[in-house]
Symmetry: C2
Subunit: 220 residues, 2 copies
C-alpha cells in the first residue's frame, strides 16, 4: 500500500529543456544543441565519477557538463557566463501539469530525491514556491554518490521510515526508473516523450504520460 | 620509463562506426543514427549496471544497446537480426593506421584491455589476424565490472607485473582516458575526431591524432 511519493527533480518535476532558451540568448541558434550536450554530459559525469571514486557535488558536475558542451561546440566563454547559465538550474519551471498533479495527491506524504545538492534543490523549490508541497528534500550529496547507486535510494527509506514497496518513486528518467525498481520501490515512469524503455532488466509498475495521469491511478 | 602499452579495443584499435554500414543495409537511411544510439546506450549501460549492482557481460550489454536503439527509432526487428547485427562487433576492422602503428612499437610489450568479453575480444583479434601482436587480451569480465572502475585497470598491472606509471594506456575514449589517468597509468588519448576533453579533473600525458603519431613520441 503506497503511503509516500518520492519524486525525482530534474526532468520529472522541473523542465530542464528550459535552459535551452537561456543558452540561445547567449549563443543564438545553438541553444538546443548546447542544452542537449550539457544535460547528457551532466548525466554521464554522475555515472562515471562514482565508478572512478572521484565524487564531486552536482553543482560542480553541472558546470563541468556545460563547459564540455561549450568546448565541444567551439563556443567561447568565461567563468562568469558559466556561472550565469549554470544558475538557470535554480529557476527551472515545473512541467505545466505538475502543480495540478501535486494538488491531487495531498493525501500522500511527498518527498524529493535528487542528484542535486541540498542548496540547489532548496533554491529551486523556493523559487517555485513549492516548499509547502514536500515533507523533505533529499540530496544524493548526503551519501557522496549518485543515482542509480542504491545508497541514494536508501535516503528515501530512511527519511520516510517506510518499507521500500510502500514508497512510490516517480521519475521521467528511464535509467532512474530502472535504478529505483531494481532497488525495490514501487515505481512510476513519467514518459512524457514516448521514449523506449531502458534495457536494464527491470520494468516500472506504472507508465504514464504526466503527473495528472499518475494521480488518476493513485486515486482509483 | 614506459615498458608496456595497453590498448583499449572498441573505438581505439577497432572502428566501431563500421557497424553503421551493416545497420544501413537492414534499415536503409538509418544506419548512422542506429549505430550512434547503439554505441551511446552500450556505454551508458556499462556505467549504470555496476552502479546498480546488476553486472552482465558485454555480449548482453551490446545486444541491449542495439535493442534500445531499434525500439527508440520504432524499427521492427527479431532476435535473429539482433544476433546478426551484434556479431558485427566480432569483425570490426582496425582503424586504417593501426597495423602500421603496431609494427612501430614491437620493442614494447603490448596488451588489450577492454570491456568486451574474452570470447568477443579473442574472436575480434583473430578475425583481424592480430593474435601475434599482443602478449595478452584482458577483459573487464574477469572482475565483473566495467571501466572506469579501477578494478578493471588493475587487470593490466597484474598481467604486466609493472608499476602503473610504466604502463602506457592508450584509448580514443575520453572517459576511458580520464579513468586510466585517475588510476595512475601514463596515458595517451587518441583523439581522432578532435573532441573536447572530458571535464573529469584529469588530463592525459599525451594527445595524438592516431597511433602512428603516438609511435613518433614513443620512439623519440
Amino acid at each position: 500500500m503506497v503511503q509516500a511519493v518520492v519524486f525525482d527533480a530534474y526532468g520529472t518535476l522541473f523542465n530542464v529543456q528550459s535552459v535551452a532558451i537561456a543558452c540561445d540568448k547567449e549563443y543564438p541558434g545553438n541553444g538546443e544543441i548546447i542544452s542537449r550536450i550539457w544535460r547528457q554530459k551532466q548525466l554521464e559525469y554522475t555515472w562515471l565519477r562514482p565508478l572512478m571514486n572521484r565524487y564531486v557535488g552536482f553543482d560542480r558536475v553541472n558546470r563541468d557538463g556545460l563547459r564540455f558542451a561549450l568546448r565541444q561546440l567551439r563556443l567561447s566563454f568565461d567563468e562568469a557566463l558559466v556561472e550565469e547559465l549554470a544558475n538557470t538550474y535554480l529557476t527551472l519551471p515545473p512541467h505545466h501539469e505538475v502543480p495540478k498533479g501535486l494538488r491531487r495527491m495531498t493525501q500522500l506524504r511527498r518527498f524529493i530525491l535528487s542528484n542535486g545538492t541540498e542548496e540547489m534543490l532548496t533554491k529551486l523549490v523556493q523559487n517555485n514556491h513549492l516548499e509547502g508541497d514536500f515533507e523533505g528534500i533529499l540530496s544524493a550529496d548526503g551519501v557522496l554518490t549518485y543515482k542509480p547507486d542504491p545508497a541514494v535510494y536508501t535516503l528515501a527509506v530512511s527519511a520516510a521510515k517506510l518499507p521500500k514497496e510502500d514508497i512510490l518513486f516517480v521519475s521521467s528518467n528511464g535509467w532512474d526508473v530502472a535504478g529505483a525498481k531494481s532497488y525495490g520501490f514501487t515505481v512510476a515512469w513519467v514518459n512524457r516523450k514516448g521514449s523506449a524503455p531502458e534495457e536494464l532488466d527491470v520494468v516500472p509498475d506504472y507508465e504514464v504520460r504526466d503527473l495528472v495521469e499518475l494521480t488518476n491511478i493513485i486515486n482509483s
